[in-house]
């Protein structure tokens, strides 16, 4: 279990490295090596670290622990084939982690990042519509039942393509450099993570690796089905590359516009869910 957890961290960071590399190549830069994010995590862990003088100490340290803890829990729920609702709960609560990172230091840049993450909370809602659409077909939100359903009826990707697109957008909004990643845009220095340097950032990198692994794994499991681990890893790399293309070819939206676009997508999805509900 702990071995798998560490593997997930490393592989998730590798995916983020591939993401950076692909974006760089699209923009005709050489880009960092693909294992750059793993090296980052190790490098940060050796750096001199302290808690800023103005920070709210317990919260400052506590959110790092919470961030790693919740995503480990999400990984275990995913592996056990538990309820998809729990994973989405954790996904939503990652917002709170971002707020905690941003607000606890007292830094104005962190504050901006935190406030933006509040603004973008509205972007999490397309997710629930896609969950509702999935539930409409499979009559269950247990991942194991969804996998069973797909073993009989074929991948949900072809049955409910729009729900898959909504979920894809949700994952896109959590990828760095994407059109919806307003919480860490360049004018905010590093957004919510500005003041979490050194060891704290290393902890955040672990959380990011886990988060990427869990989200990609979940997308493939929910919309394609249970496949052998090697195929799963290959699929995750493919998904990452497609996300990198989406990120590289789209500009970052302004904060409120990003939310409006996502709300409009939610509206479309609601209509889609209603139509499917009437048909089914």
């Amino acid at each position: 279990m702990i071995g798998y957890l560490l593997f997930a961290v490393v592989f998730g960071l590798l995916l983020l490295g591939i993401h950076r590399k692909v974006i760089a190549r699209i923009q005709r830069r050489p880009g960092p090596p693909v294992w750059q994010e793993i090296l980052h995590m190790l490098k940060f862990s050796f750096k001199s670290t302290w808690i800023p003088a103005t920070a709210s100490n317990i919260l400052f340290v506590g959110v790092v622990l919470v961030a790693i803890g919740i995503w480990s829990a999400a990984l275990f729920v995913l592996l056990a084939g538990g309820s998809i609702l729990i994973i989405f709960g954790i996904y939503m609560l990652h917002k709170i982690v971002e707020h905690g990172f941003g607000l606890s230091s007292g830094s104005p840049y962190g504050k901006f990042g935190g406030v933006r993450s509040v603004i973008s909370a509205a972007s999490e809602i397309p997710l629930f519509v896609s969950v509702a659409v999935v539930a409409l077909y499979t009559q269950s939100l247990e991942i194991s039942s969804i996998v069973q359903y797909q073993a009989i009826h074929g991948p949900l990707l072809f049955i409910v393509p729009l729900a898959a697109i909504a979920m894809y957008i949700v994952i896109l909004s959590k990828m760095p450099f994407g059109p919806f990643s307003i919480v860490e845009s360049k004018e905010l220095v590093s957004g919510y993570k500005t003041e979490h340097f050194g060891v704290w950032r290393a902890g955040l990198e672990i959380c990011n690796g886990l988060k990427t692994y869990v989200l990609m794994f979940m997308f493939i499991t929910v919309f394609i089905g249970g496949i052998p681990i090697w195929w799963m890893l290959a699929g995750m790399i493919l998904l990452t590359v497609s996300l990198s293309f989406a990120c590289a070819f789209s500009p970052m939206l302004s904060p409120f516009d990003s939310v409006t676009v996502q709300m409009l997508i939610t509206g479309v999805m609601l209509g889609y869910a209603a139509v499917l509900g009437v048909i089914a």
Binding site: W50, F76, S107, T194
Partner: protein
């Protein structure tokens, strides 16, 4: 003062690491259900990792104010 803090961090990392190992052994034995082992990981893994990092990190400076742009 500084070494005392480092010792404490190392002790904490060791304790949580030991808990992780004990949880693994008990789970393999069958005495601890999988959920229990996972609960141990969720609580101990973050503490273990952060304490380990804080223990092996470079020399510590005094605290400073946040970055304010210049």
């Amino acid at each position: 003062m500084m070494t005392k803090k480092k010792d404490m961090l190392r002790a904490l990392a060791l304790i949580t690491g030991a808990l992780l190992v004990i949880g693994f052994v008990l789970w393999q034995n069958g005495t601890l259900p999988l959920v229990g082992y996972e609960a141990i990981i969720v609580v101990c893994f973050p503490i273990c990792v952060i304490c380990l990092f804080l223990w092996w990190m470079a020399r510590e400076h005094g605290e400073d104010i946040p970055f304010i742009g210049y």
